[in-house]
Symmetry: C2
């Protein structure tokens, strides 16, 4: 009986999923979104400072990619890193980051139940995608040849993780998601779709740049050999 | 009661997982391994023919990578493609490919239960990794600038999929795996570890090649501008 009471005393879906150590958040929805928005805004400002101090003149496109990569690095390393280290106790923690995860979890309760796929995928995202996003930021600022491998690796890992993440929930009939449009569209779709669309664009962008670069390199090398 | 009888009438782990439409394979273990081995040998021979007809003189390393990529493409597209299209009915099918999957499933029953993560990951592997492995084969044969983007994309997708695949089973205490060393080490570890080790090497290989190529391209472009 106690198990059943524990199982239903939370607002997440599926409603019978056990989250025994759940405690309510201190931040409400608007405070959570404002906190996340402020953090993202802070990263955008930091990107602006880095762009201002760059030795190279960056194109408008490169500036936007730098902002994207720095925002991604921040989210991956801080927010998703926090999840990765605390997933087992997250539902009962009283921290701002736990509040943010409890808010997002309305759109996916797997974040509060240590779902194996979610934990591994988020661990990879935090450590691997986060690090390579920083390398991409460095690559853009320093006009380094490492930029496109880093951009390609970050974007492909993001795309793969996000496709698996969204598609597994789809295959289970979105049972982990509160069906309210605010949570389904506002959180689950809108907060994940950018990591499908933008990485796809950046993968194509990097492939094109690498193709052109490798072609120039091949020609330069064969010209040198012919001389 | 019927459910319980259905649930235990198969040799897979966890032993109580329901595989109601399970039928036994016609091929035994050695016949299954011989069939798989013959298919791989066929792909190696095909690689040899392609290498023999290549216009470029390929290095020993490139020949080995070509063989690897063609073997991967075959496994991804045919074997994993078959799984992706038939996962729902695989356990009850009477085909050679279904026999191979029933044999492998001793090391992971998720292949016979339409496990959402496994189905999505295999779908991506069959379509995406399989296609890019073929592009990598073409890239090596034609000495095309697309070779390293394709090699990098294929290898990163393989690595990501396989890490998630192995790690999710680990996180669940290898409950999907028959603990017999033949199945745990012989199948689960030995048949998956190559897709961790070799892609990691090939990712580093491609990053190095792209870095060198982009550096030459940068210098060639700036020399041209200076002239």
């Amino acid at each position: 009986m106690e198990d059943i009471i524990n199982a239903i005393q939370h607002p997440y879906f599926p409603q019978d999923t056990p989250i025994p150590h759940y405690v309510a958040s201190k931040l409400d929805m608007s405070q959570s979104l404002l906190t996340l928005g402020s953090a993202v805004a802070g990263l955008v400002v930091l990107s602006g400072i880095l762009i201002g101090r760059a030795r190279n003149a960056l194109s408008c496109k490169d500036k936007l990619i730098l902002v994207w990569m720095l925002v991604c690095a921040g989210i991956h390393i801080v927010l998703e890193g926090y999840f990765s280290f605390n997933h087992g106790t997250l539902a009962g923690k009283s921290t701002v980051l736990a509040d943010l995860w409890r808010e997002y979890a309305h759109s996916d309760s797997r974040y509060l139940t240590s779902d194996p796929f979610t934990v591994i995928m988020e661990g990879i995202t935090a450590v691997f995608d986060g690090s390579f996003a920083l390398v991409a930021v460095y690559g853009i600022l320093a006009d380094s040849p490492i930029r496109h491998p880093a951009q390609l690796i970050t974007s492909l890992a993001q795309l793969y993780g996000d496709v698996l993440y969204m598609a597994t929930n789809y295959m289970e009939g979105f049972k982990y998601t509160n069906p309210h449009p605010m949570y389904f569209y506002g959180y689950f779709v809108l907060m994940n779709l950018p990591w499908i669309v933008i990485p796809t664009y950046l993968i194509v962008d990097s492939c094109k740049s690498i193709y052109r670069g490798m072609l120039i390199a091949q020609r330069a090398t064969s010209t040198k050999k012919a001389e």
